[in-house]
Subunit: 391 residues, 2 copies
């Protein structure tokens, strides 16, 4: 009979972090469906393209692991030059740190004693652990927890770009928090600023996205200047994402970019414009849910075995890869109903098909494993070790 | 290095089925959030009410475990009189059977060899395992797999109530399938009919719901009569759900009801009318996501630590339990942004609050554990053993 803390630690001790090699490769079409699959050729190009673009523009890549939740992928990103990762939540950081991914920024603030203690627990054995703070009250509480534990925690001040989600108001309120950390929080180490304008990332038109983003981020630049005029050095300014990656260098505010979706992509990102065209095809989709056709109740319909429980969406519906004339309609939690309008290939019962996910982050969070493949063959399984880690 | 089949078996062998007792109880408000919690007093009343209503009307209760995915709960439902369970998918049935829940009906058909083999694998050691079939092609394939394995599989013929999702067309096409099973599928045992009119369950007005449902189900009655006139006995007719539970006895078509949501309830079900009033309050909500207030970026807003990754929705937004003057707005995958309009209680940073889920089934599927509580205290943890089992 464990305590709750022992129970949580025990669960984490059972999590797998490493790729599992199969003793014999399996064909993609023999996977039990629904299965979350990665087209490795596309995926690896996406990783390389983002890294080389940002490196070429003097920017750091801090990969957001809230998207893939997979230490196998985080290690690949770091091996290619990423400076570290960010996680949305504390429990996600616990998984990454346990898997040996050390340079971590937790991008959401914490407000309760249990979470403060878990952050301090991580920082106690990892100098590279950082978390955002966004108000004097929670900064004071974290300082107090760190002081009791005799350790120092690196903090970023999170600036609200006007979303009203998290972050302190830029300029004076942010500066007041910066001074409070400097003057009254000896157990907190000020490591930089964060400003993530998530409300801009999916603005469809490129020039509008860029103009809106530049306008919102301007307060971040001014805040940094106020900090530095006050003698508070800002070594790092973190933010941005896949939707702004090629604007950051010109804007010149951020020093590192928190991109996540570029590795997998999804319909929501694909459907915004890029610098050069009406679709965002800088990074093609590499993530798919493999589904099977299981029922054909009517002539112009065929039903597949994947619904809301393996394809998350807050907006759009999934789409099929490389088939025209088919429309996926949600068929509830367990099914999708495919309308056949003169499809470019026949679909029979038992056929397995790849669908593009509407939104990669919450879709990944529904699955336990990735099945990466090349030339139609799966050789290993990658555990989604931080799946469900929303705490 | 395992084969894929060994890997899948190995994962299942690690799944926990039983309640985990905590060595010391923990207060609800001390749980790390987000946490999926069950108010046991409400939950137990819901279980009793549905069982006694259906028993009192001579109907069987076949609980749908796609909703809770938890053998601890399935065993409670059976102990109270449920005749068995249904599962949406094969992998869910594997978990239930491994946990000792034997009377199982799998309510979705399978079409691929790997799934047919898994069904036969279950049936080989469990006479009470049943699965639906909905076309001659897949029935023939399943018969062939069962014949090779030297075992018999119980099947229900799934009738399409006009949803176009799964099921064969009622009347003549269904009868042809019935004859095919009788005459050409010696390894399949015909156990009954299934007809699930999921498209009716959430019709808001009670009388309209009842009339539409009765009209759709009428073809099920006629199909049963055709089967019996043809000498094919129909021992069981399965279908219905929480939205039709109090209509079935009067309709007189089904012999057992596949109810799931009644145990937990959600906003989508609450917002339809009941027999007696504009809200469906026969079964009050017993399931909540406990969240923490983590940020207060603006005066009239407060942000909580739960978004799409722990509160699934295809329609409505979550609501707070027993607080007026607060509106939950989705804040993306990780957050909710609460608008404060003269709230009935103050909400401070660090406060923990219960929210009612928009849709219980896919919300449960996001979490690994239930935290059941009584009098504000959690004494044990119930594993959501079939979480993610969409295969």
């Amino acid at each position: 009979m464990p305590s709750l803390a022992e129970f949580i630690d025990g669960r984490r001790a059972r999590v797998e972090f490493e790729a599992i090699k199969l003793d014999k490769p399996i064909a993609l079409v023999d996977l039990p469906t629904p299965a979350l699959v990665i087209d490795l050729d596309v995926f690896e190009k996406n990783l390389k393209r983002m890294q080389s673009f940002l490196s070429g523009h003097g920017l750091g890549l801090r990969c957001h692991t809230k998207m893939h939740k997979c230490p196998v992928i985080a290690h690949q990103q770091i091996a290619q030059g990423a400076i570290g990762v960010c996680t949305a939540k504390v429990s996600e950081a616990e998984i990454m740190q346990a898997a040996g991914v050390l340079d971590i920024l937790i991008t959401s603030p914490v407000s309760t004693p249990d979470k403060g203690e878990r952050v301090v627990g991580l920082a106690g054995s990892n100098d590279s652990l950082k978390i955002v703070v966004d108000c004097i009250e929670t900064a004071t509480a974290l300082n107090s927890t760190a002081t009791k534990a005799g350790c120092t925690v690196g903090v970023f001040i999170d600036l609200d770009p006007g979303m009203g989600r998290t972050g302190i108001e830029p300029l004076q309120p942010a500066l007041a928090l910066g001074r409070h950390i400097r003057d009254a929080c000896p157990a907190l180490r000020f490591d930089g600023l964060q400003m993530y304008a998530g409300n801009c990332m999916h603005i469809t038109e490129y020039e509008e996205r860029k103009a809106t983003y530049a306008r919102l981020m301007e307060k971040g630049r001014q805040t940094r200047e106020m900090f530095e005029a006050d003698g508070i050095s800002v070594p790092v300014f973190s933010g941005g994402g896949t939707g702004s990656y090629d604007m950051e260098s010109e804007l010149g505010i951020l020093t590192e970019v928190q991109a996540g979706s570029y590795a997998f992509m999804d319909i929501e990102y694909r459907d915004i414009a890029s610098r050069t065209g009406p679709q965002f095809d800088d990074f093609p989709p590499s993530l798919f849910v493999l589904v099977s056709a299981i029922s054909k109740p009517q002539e112009e319909l065929i039903t597949v075995d994947a619904g809301f429980k393996c394809l998350a969406s807050d907006k759009s519906a999934p789409e099929f890869r490389e088939i025209e004339g088919v429309v996926y309609q949600w068929g509830g939690d367990e099914h999708g109903i495919i309308e056949l309008n003169n499809p470019s290939r026949q679909i029979a019962l038992g056929d397995k098909l790849e669908v593009i996910t509407p939104h990669c982050d919450p879709t990944v969070n529904l699955h336990d494993f990735f099945f990466p493949y090349r030339n139609g063959v799966v050789e290993e399984i990658w555990p989604i070790s931080a799946r469900g880690c929303s705490q």
